[in-house]
Amino acid sequence: MEPTIPILILCLPLLGFLVLGLLGPKMSHKAAGWYGILSMGATMVLAYITACTYFFSGAPEFIEGGVRLQHVVFNQDWLNFYKELTIRIGFLLDPISALLLVVITTISFCVHLYSLGYMEGEKGFQRYYAFLQLFSFSMLGLVVATNIFQMYIFWELVGASSYLLIGFYYQRPSAVSASKKAFIVTRFADLGFLIGILILSYFTGTFNFTDFTGTVLANGSSVNDLVTPLNVVASFGGATFMGCSLLTWALVLIFMGGMGKSAMLPLHIWLPDAMEGPTPVSALIHAATMVVAGVYLVARLFPLYLMEEAALTFITVVGAITAFYAAVVACTQIDIKRVLAFSTISQIAFMMVSLGVARPEIHEGLGYMASMFHLFTHAMFKALLFLGAGALIHAVHSNDYTAMGGLRKYMPVTHITFLIGCLAIAGIPPFSGFFSKDEILSACYENSFVWGAWMSMVAGLTAFYMFRLYYLIFWWDEPDYGHHKPHDAPWMMSLPLIFLALVSCCCGFLHFGKFVTWNGEPYDIHINWTGVAIPSIIIAVLAIALATVMYRKKNDLPAKFAKASCGLWTAAHNRFYWDEIYLFITHKIIFNGICRPIAWFDRHIIDGTMDGLAWCAQRLSVTIRPLQSGNVHSYVYVYLFGALLLGGVTAAVVLL
């Protein structure tokens, strides 16, 4: 494949960022917005061309004997330390990167278009578009990385652009602290990622993904004899640390980076606060693309994870706990964006669990395919939900559902599209979420009944809290809207909603297994109606029915329920006090126990030494200052005395 189009895919958003960042203040809002939209549109078209070429052209470099291959379009030396250690920047095409190219550019384009209406008249409009372009560039660079170091670079770049966008309203203290929180928490996770990279590359001597994960064919032979995950395991030579093999440590540490970005349990605290950013940004970054980077990372290194059962189990456990926790918390939040944020955490955890339970011997790695499928469908319907929420917030100027209710009459387009999104995430056929979630549940049940039952329960919770949200917004009780009745958003906001709703309706029927599987061989999706699908539909419908009973009309059932739950509701409403725990650890233990003594040491010992030196020098200078009297004669006497002494000594040495 010619490298022109891939290079353009990366360069157009970067150029857009530079143009909007440097010339933005000179442009009008309209010009900047349309420039961003056109640039992203062109990128989207190019990404579609690339993905279609990869999936449908059937060229021998992409597909061989029905097996999709990893194809390196270009791989340019970037940092040349020495021969064995060269960091490259490149473009890797394989099923998941092609899929992500499509997802990112589509959502990004929708968000660009949507923002034209949503951000109308905001101060810093051009800056906003510049950051959107920067984010798109970084995310595209991340998914097409040919080596883990390039991925790390772009990983940090998406973190930085996320920081910039969360803190977009930088006059608001809450936005500033939210952006700092997001940056610090993900940074902390990236520390683990970096250590993992270093361990891995120290033992294998390479950064390249193709070296780690060279495709293994069905008969056990690899496409390239030299590169297999087995070689990676062999290169570790059975080294262990604290009872686990070093490879496990490396993989778990790398997964820790993914935990930070994807908001898995101990590191999830930044994502709900990240909702301080503009809503389209939440849709793009904190729902559809950046937060699935962790899933993408695990999927990218999946053949390596397969070598280490322990790492996969770890992922499964973390994912399962996170999914349940986030679903419970989502049932009690008031801010609609926070409900969606926790729902995002929960859904990403679904993908993680799906990856964790995937095994080649279970339906040829069904979990991997299901995870990617859910990533795709989730990106679409969650972006739809967020953009819908944005339209609602735009209309009533509040984030809380208490300010909404009965909106179905005033905002029909938003109502219908939001309903489609809710049905999709609840897993009702024929919407897309049903298909992907069904595959995930199948994979879980195949692995172990425990995981299957657990995730089915979480799926039921998902349906419940989404419809709770839906009823509270569109039914329930109508507050007093005053003279300004809420109305549907302008066309550039509605258009992405309608488009995404259509996609969410249809994309479940894609034969996804034909395109993306863990080893590139096509997999035939078949829905296990009796075993998995029917029960999960029943669970979802029951959950929706419960939500209908509780929230369709204004009543005091929810309040009673909350009272009867013996503090569980309050705890969930406060997110099970995770933030407080973090505050306790950082403020009480780290600040008081470690930072104060260090600060004292710095202030009194180190600064004291320096101050002492300065004090000595000052005293000395005060002492010797009178020597410079300005009296020329005294200077001459001193000089003469020295000269005579020198002359005398010299003469004495020569003479005697």
Binding site: H633, Y637, L640, L644, G647, T650, A651
Partner: protein
Amino acid sequence: MEILYAIVALAIIIFSVLTVTTRKILRSATYLLFTLFAAAIVYFMMDYEFLGAVQIAVYAGGIVVLFVFSILLTTHPGSNSEKLANRHVWWGILAAVATAAVTGWALLSRCADLFSSKPEMADYTMQDLGNAMLSTGHGGYLLPFEAVSVLLLACIIGAVVVARKR
């Protein structure tokens, strides 16, 4: 020759002592002029005619005139003969004598050379001097020549800037 030497040596000693002891500054400048003339004669006696000429032209003709001008400029019209006050005279004498002692002692360490007599010297013409000034390498002084010319230029500009009326 010996007579000439005696006159010159005496002139140098007497006039330099007078230069620093006289009470009137204009006289001091005049005695300096005489001393400089005596030094010029020494140069002539050393067969350095050009150097002697430069000494007379630059010192006698330039610097002393400069001194006289500045003295006249800085003397109050009423008291045309301002008394030169000397102070710490004994300290000054002590310093001078000490210097003379140390220097004399140092000179004595080269006894053999001190009593050498004047050897013959090849005729040193103006042309040789010019070549030396404008050539490089051994015996060439182009670089210091240029440095001095730059110094003089800087000095002219500096003097103009400093003395200019604001």
